[in-house]
Amino acid sequence: MKKAKLKAHPTLPKAPTGIQGLDEVTDGGLPRGRPTLVCGSAGCGKTLMAMEFLVRGATQFGEPGVFMAFEETAQDLAANVASLGFDVPRLVAQKKLLIDHVRLERSEIQETGEFDLGGLFVRLNYAIDQIGAKRVVLDTVECLFAGLPNPGTVRSELRRLFRWLKDKGVTAIITGERGEGMLTRQGLEEYVSDCVLLLDHRVAGQVSTRRLRVVKYRGSMHGTNEYPFLIDREGFSVLPVTSLGLDHEICTERISTGVERLDAMLGGKGCYRGSSVLLSGTAGTGKTSMAAHFVNAACARGERCLYFAFEEPPRQIMRNLRSIGLNLTQWVDKGLLRFHASRPTLCGLETHLATMHQVVSQFQPHVVVMDPITSFTAIGEIVEIKAMLTRMVDFLKARRITAFFTTLTHSGDILEGTETDISSLIDTWLLLRDIELSGERNRGLYVLKSRGMAHSNQIREFLLTSHGIELKDVYVGPGGVLTGSARLAQEAQEQAVRVLEGQEIEVRQRDLERKRQVLAAQVAALEANFAAEEAEVRRGIGQLQQREARLQQNRLDMADSRQANGAGAAKRQAKP
């Protein structure tokens, strides 16, 4: 009958818990009007989760709640959750919350015959009706087994209670202590079968991690994985990080890495927004400095940056970066940059992940830096770290946050392998490498891969100067890659050759000029000679012509004087 009802209502009505992440994992909350079993070992946060369910129900969803406590008194409960910012006494005063402490003392109770748990029903019913409760918590109902004789009766009465809760239409959380080989010590999961949540608190390698799993949820989709959860100042938060897929929205915007030459190497525009950048390198190759440039550029664009530092305290990072001319303190002061520093060994991987999620969700950064991710190897297996980073990368991608990871490789490792083997997750992989040559170590930067852009295949020499990172062309020649002073020497040599060649050209040009001048001089001299000769010749011709004319005149005068011809006579006669 129940099943038929479920089929008729494909969307099961749900009561949102308001607990961060839990509603995502359960696809909307706990089954409305039904009991949910929350089981787990001692100290795993059952009571807290239940209380937060009620408090959030009362404050956020207008659903008053009844907390029936079998273990703690109302005062203790209120005091315990006060540190999470839950003002239980105020809610109680406002009649939004009612705490009924059920005290059972086995030694005070003598059994004298058949009994039922009618008193519990009456109390619960009275409490629910008093404030019009929509939510109920029974914490921990298994105390009844210890407090009352005849477990058989208690068992059947509990079965009746859960049915009664359902009929009453309240959304209930029933907590149960984890038992050997089963979810609860008394097998409550047999009775509360609509939704079962399992809380776990595991210690591996002296590091504890809290996890939550939806064991079952009838009639609803739910995440099936174990999700890490945190209990901190804001209460309970579950991180549905494994539920992420690969259908992120993709951005074509490019952002600068903060190093101009590097942008040039990455197709001239830098990396994509929302992509993941991995910078791997051996110790002391300047990974943090590069990360700082990235951060600096982002902050200068007015974007928020979140810097997870796992090895150095923030002040030290900022101090050290001042030596290469980067002032990150100004961004911290402006609220654009936030550091979150913690030792990897502080808590388990999951908790780290959970914390990072929380901080990211709060700060809403544009850029996240994790420096370095390899330090997690101290607390986890490579596979686990990879899984965690996958989730982190997915999480950040889904929010279009550009991620910048640094990873420490050891010299002698295979170049294309990182300690954590996450290269496949990474869109842009930069490699910083020591280049050891002629007695000195220098840094070389490669772009190992960069998805979706034409990136440079060149090695650049990477210099840390007082005004930041500089990338230089390295000398690649028959002698191999030259960096540092070898590169400088090579450059000097080339310079010398260039000077020599320049001089040679100059000499030749001068020679040519000189030749041209000589030629011109010769031409001028020849022309002058010719002119002189010409003048001489012309003068000679003129003299000859004058002489000829004079001779002619002379001949005429002679004939005239001889009156050798009439014309001369006539001429002379006519003359006077």
Binding site: D100, Q110, T112, D116, G118, G119, V122, R123, N125, L148
Partner: protein
């Protein structure tokens, strides 16, 4: 008033209850067969062992649910001995007379007490 009586009762041991009448409270929920049986059993035991020195108050939690919290009532029926001090609580339909007598401190839980019952 009640408190005063309880305090005066504390000075006396349970067995020397010559003058003070017993105050017994029987919690039930409605007139069920079990609650009726419990009341009948209680009445019989009191008559047999206490003579006239007792008062029985029956509290129906269906009518007065707010009273359940004060005596921390979970199981029903529950019999609470308010006086003489200390407070005793026994649950069930009181069909096991021996247990009731032990629970009410009318008989120490020793094997020697058995022949009385026969």
């Amino acid at each position: 008033m009640l408190m005063k009586k309880e305090r005066s009762a504390t000075k006396r041991p349970a067995k020397g209850l010559a003058d003070e009448p017993w105050q017994l409270c029987l919690y039930v929920a409605g007139q069920t067969a079990r609650s009726l049986a419990a009341f009948a059993n209680l009445k019989r035991i009191c008559e047999e062992h206490l003579g006239g020195r007792y008062q029985i108050k029956v509290i129906d939690l269906l009518k007065n649910p707010q009273l359940a919290e004060g005596d921390q009532i979970i199981a029903l029926p529950t019999l609470v001995r308010r006086l003489p001090w200390p407070i005793r609580k026994i649950i069930g339909d009181l069909s096991n007379t021996e247990s009731v007598l032990i629970g009410l401190d009318l008989r120490p839980p020793t094997p020697g007490g058995h022949h009385h019952e026969d």
